[in-house]
Structures are given as C-alpha cells and as structure tokens.
C-alpha cells in the first residue's frame, strides 16, 4: 500500500487503437507506466509514436481502448463524461505546444477561465489569477491580449492557467516546441520550480535539452515504453 500511495499515476496494460475508415491504427499496445508523486517525467519518442495520445489518456481527454488509467484513487475508465470533466477541472492542468489561449481574452481573463467552474466569486477569481500570473513572472502583463505577448510570455500565461486551480498533475505537450532557446529555458525553469513546489509533471518533448531538466525520461516507440533512448 505504501508503494501505491506514492504513485500518482498508474497505467496498466493500456492499449489505444484508432480507426481510420476500415484501417486500424494500434498506437499503444499493452503499455504500463507509473509516475511517482512529485516526479518530473519527460516523455520522448519519434513523431507519431503516440506521445500525445498517452498524455491525453492520463489527462482524461480521451479513453483507452483497454487497460486502466488510475490517477490517485480515481479509475478514469469508470467515470462518465460529466464526471471526467469535473475530474479534469479539479486534478489536472494542461499546457499546450501552441499555448491555445483565447485571443479575445486578456491574460488575466484567460487564467481565470478554469476558475469559472469553481464557486469563487469575481473578486476571488481575479485575485487567484493575479497570484498565478505573478508566479510565472507576468504580473505586469495582466491586461494584455495574447497577440501582444511574445511566444514565451504566452506560454507562461498558459502555465498560469494550468496551475491556477492548484491541480495535482501538470501535463505539458511539447511546451517548448514553438519557442526559441531562451524562452524555452525560462519555461523549463518555471516547470522545474513548480516541481520543487510539489507538482507532478509529465512533459512530452522532442528536445534532449528539455528532457535534461526532468527527473526521469522514458521513450515511447512502437507502442511500448523503454527507459533508454533509441540510439
């Protein structure tokens, strides 16, 4: 039991098959993975190997074809769509490669979005968003719209949005994939400091430079995981 309780993520014999017309695409085939609480895991692998697919299963954005995904004590396959949405709102924060901010909302309003689903009132939402933006070093950009921010700043807004509800788990799909080296490094340092503050982070990346910041790296290839690189 003690080993179990330190594991935040447990993935058991997970398969994922896509159907494209009559063609079946077996992306994950009987995959196992555990991630300990407080870990910063880098997930690497060739393009099309299924990294995003795996991350989506962990975040409850998609459902496994078979096998089970257990986060803390929740078996995601047993939740219906509505429960899964509520679970995501409480437990996960997502960071995307292309930031995926709402262009019509200011940085602050973007960060407030997840809080709309909570019972916080307008003032509390604003305060929480300010704290999160402060944590990513953007307290001077509250009322800026995304298009007036640099890529690195937009991604930091994305991270603020992911952490504003204080989720257990942070899932990042190539968070530095669209950034130059300097901005990428800032984002990685930010993720590292979040790990130091107790967040569990799973990050998909192509960049060895990024994975070097993680506490552990796993490689996905041909539907299976290995701890060593393909080379």
């Amino acid at each position: 039991m003690s080993a179990e309780s330190s594991d935040l993520v447990r993935i058991e014999h997970v398969t994922k098959t896509f159907h494209r017309g009559s063609e079946e695409i077996h992306v994950l085939s009987g995959l196992d993975l555990t991630v300990a609480r407080g870990e910063f895991l880098a997930l690497m692998g060739p393009s099309g190997s299924g990294k995003s697919t795996l991350l989506n299963l962990i975040g409850g954005l998609d459902r496994a074809t078979s096998g089970s995904v257990i986060i803390e004590n929740d078996r995601l396959d047993e939740l219906d769509d509505r429960q899964l949405a509520a679970w995501r709102a409480r437990h996960v924060g997502f960071v995307f490669q292309f930031y995926n901010l709402m262009p019509v909302l200011t940085a602050q309003k973007n960060v407030e979005l997840p809080l709309l689903l909570t019972h916080l009132n307008r003032r509390e939402r604003r305060e929480h968003a300010e704290i999160a933006l402060n944590a990513v070093g953007l307290s001077h950009r509250l009322n800026h719209f995304p298009r007036t921010l640099s890529g690195g700043e937009q991604q930091r807004v994305g991270i603020a949005r992911a952490i504003v509800t204080d989720p257990t788990l942070l899932l990042c799909d190539e968070p530095t994939g669209d950034l130059d080296r300097k901005s990428g490094d800032e984002v990685l340092s930010l993720l590292q400091s979040l790990q130091e503050n107790g967040k569990t982070i799973i990050m998909v990346t192509h960049d060895p430079h990024a994975s070097a910041r993680a506490s552990r790296t796993v490689h996905l290839d041909k539907g299976q995981l290995s701890t060593t690189g393909p080379e």
Binding site: S52, A85, A89, R90, F94, F98, V104, L113
Partner: protein
C-alpha cells in the same frame, strides 16, 4: 452570469462579421415589423367592420351611382333596420406646405342616420347639434384634423374634380363644426363628412339625387346573407341592379388588391427570413468550426459538454435577439410617426401581438441557427479538437 462575458467576448472575435450578421438580422426584423404594420393597415379595416352592416352598391361597380330613393325601398325589406347613403366626393385640399393637392376621403351624408349606423365614430353631442343646425357644417376625423390643422370654427374650401356647383365652380365651402374620434384603435379617422342636403342643393349636372352606395344596418347579423339576397332580388331587372354584401366582404373586396400586395410582401419576407437563416446559420457554424481548438481547450480545462453547448447556443441567441429586437424597436418607432400615406392607409400602428411574435421569431432564429453548431460543439472530441491539423 459569469459566462455571459465569455459569450460577449466571443462576438468581438470577428467584429466585422458580427456587425454584418447583426445588421442583416436587424434589417430582416425591421422589414418584419413594417410588414406587420402594413398588414394591419390593409386588413385592420375588415376586422373593424360591423357584422350587422351591409353595403349596397351598383351591381357593376362601386363608382356607378344609385338613386337616392332606393333608401326607402331598402328600408321596407324584411330584416333591415336602418339605411344611410353616402357618396364619394373626392374633395381635395393643399398640403401644409402648399406644394401639392391631396385627396381627403370626403362624403356627403345624412348626419343623423349616418352616425347611427356608424356608432364607432364618436362625436360630442354639442358638435352633433351644431352640425344639425349648420347647413355648410362638416365634421372631420381626428387624424385628418391633426394633419391639416383644422379646428372647429374654421372655414375651409375643398375642390372636387367630380362635383361642380350649379354655378359651375368646383370649389366648395365648408365650416368645420366637429371633430370625431374613434371608439376603437383601428377606427378610420381620416374622413371628412358633410351634409347631403347642402350637397344636393348645390350640385349641378345630371347626377342630381343620385348617391354612391348605401350602408344598411340589419336586425340580425346571422341573417346578413339572406337579407343581402333579398335586397339584390328587390332590384333585379331594374335599370339599376344592386349588389348587397356584408361590409367586411366589401372592404375585403376593396382591399383585395392590397391583400395581394401583402401576400407578395409576405412571400418576400419569408425569403428574407430564409436567407437570414442561412446567412446567420452559416456564420455561426463557421464561427464555431474556427474555434474547435478553443472549445477543445475549454473542455480540457473541465467545461462539461452541456456547458459548451449552452455557450454556443447563448452566442447565437444573443446575436439573433440583439439584431431582432433592435429591428423590431426600429419598426415600432417608425409606427409612432404615423402613416406616411394617411389617405391611402389610415390605420397605422404595431399590434403588441406582432411585437411578441417578432420576439419569438428572434429567439427561434437564435435557437435554430445555433442548434447544429451547438450539437457539434457538444460532441466535439477533445483529443481531435486539439490535434494541430484540426
């Protein structure tokens, strides 16, 4: 509602597109409102008519005249209680700016009987007395009085291209002795009524003692058709055969041509609505399709499918209601200005039922145009929405 600002900011995404969509919806509902006013104007007279009234006219056409003496014969027919004649005078006056001549719907009548048959014209007793005692006296409807700034005591002239005085003049003198109002909202108040005895005495020409048509009050509206038949039979094979019919039917016949116009306008409006439906439906679908990734993010964040559906529906309904209600309001303001052609279309107002109907249409438009994109948004799979090729 905290999600309202989210809906609102979505509309600011493509400002030009939102404005154009709003504008097209606005125009459609403005058109709808004006059509409702017009339709009421064209058919309101019919519902304002009295089922207990018949109109007896020349069998061939409205403009052919009948002997005034027919009144007495009609009165003897079983079921008839009152008979009053009237004649189209076609009096003309100058517009306020003196720029052109306009026709005032004017009729020589027998005041006492006429006012009995048309009780919806309300004239104070003292003014009625004045009319009875003034040979050149005339009473005018409130609308006409306002329009031409006629007041009691005014001495005015009307010219008639049809009727000349025995002296050969076509200018007629009148004294305004009364202004009548309507018992109902859609009572026609654009008329000008003057005394037949004055008219008869003054007019020259061959048509002396001929009148335009008769208004007939019957005892039992249920018997209207049977009595009409009796009247027709009474004058069959005479030099002046007549056609009697319930007033509604006559007015309806009279406005049949306008009715056709109304149905054409209605057809045009249906097409406009249909086009609006396609335009805003398409705009809405497009707006949602462009935003699949964003909606995917909202769902990833934890927005349930139902909430995403409501956000999209909320947006389409906001657009439709905003455009629709301002269009209706504009039409209403337009109706307050009064009829631009009061002689032609005296009844000019927007029925509350039509306003509610328009509001209903606007909401329906919002729901219908939002339905498909909302369901798409509801069903949207997050993983697919977030794939970069999506």
């Amino acid at each position: 509602m905290k999600f309202l600002s989210l809906i609102w900011s979505s509309m600011k995404r493509k400002k030009l597109r939102s404005v154009l969509t709003l504008l097209s919806i606005f125009v459609a509902f403005l058109l709808f409102g004006i059509l409702c006013i017009l339709k009421e104007s064209l058919t309101g007279g019919v519902s304002a008519t009295d089922a207990a009234r018949l109109v007896v006219r020349h069998k061939v056409s409205f403009i052919q005249m009948l002997p005034q003496g027919y009144a007495n014969r009609i009165k003897t027919i079983h079921g008839v209680s009152l008979v009053a004649h009237q004649t189209w005078f076609n009096g003309m006056t100058k517009t306020m700016d003196n720029a052109s001549d306009v026709v005032v719907p004017s009729f020589p009548v027998d005041p006492e009987i006429f006012m009995k048959i048309y009780p919806e014209l309300v004239l104070p007793a003292s003014q009625m007395e004045a009319w009875m005692s003034t040979r050149t006296g005339a009473v005018v409807g409130k609308t006409a009085a306002d329009k031409y700034k006629w007041r009691i005591g005014d001495h005015i002239q009307l010219t008639s291209p049809i009727w000349q005085t025995e002296a050969g003049a076509n200018s007629w003198e009148f004294n305004i002795v009364g202004i009548y109002t309507g018992a109902k909202k859609n009572t026609d108040l654009s008329g000008f009524l003057f005394r037949y005895d004055y008219f008869e005495e003054m007019r020259g020409g061959l048509d002396k003692s001929m009148v335009g048509w008769f208004g007939v009050r019957v005892d039992d509206p249920q018997q209207a058709d049977a009595i009409s038949k009796r009247i027709d039979d009474e004058f069959a094979n005479s030099p002046w055969e007549v056609k009697a019919e319930p007033e509604g039917a006559m007015v309806q016949g009279f406005i049949q041509q306008f009715g056709d116009i109304a149905s054409i306008i209605r057809a045009v409006l249906s097409m406009v609505f249909f086009t609006i439906l396609l335009i805003s439906g398409n705009t809405m679908s497009q707006a949602v399709r462009e935003r699949f990734a964003e909606l995917g993010v909202l769902k990833a964040i934890g927005f349930p499918n139902g909430l995403v559906l409501m956000l999209v529906l909320g947006e389409s309904c906001t657009v439709a209601l905003l455009g629709g209600l301002t269009g209706l309001a504009m039409a209403w303001v337009f109706s307050l200005g009064g009829s631009p052609v009061p002689n032609f279309l005296p009844v000019w107002y927007m029925k509350p039922q039509d306003i509610y109907l328009g509001m209903g249409f606007a909401l329906l438009l919002g729901l219908v145009t939002g339905a498909v994109p909302a369901i798409q948004a509801f069903r949207l799979r997050i993983a697919e929405a977030l794939r970069r090729d999506a």
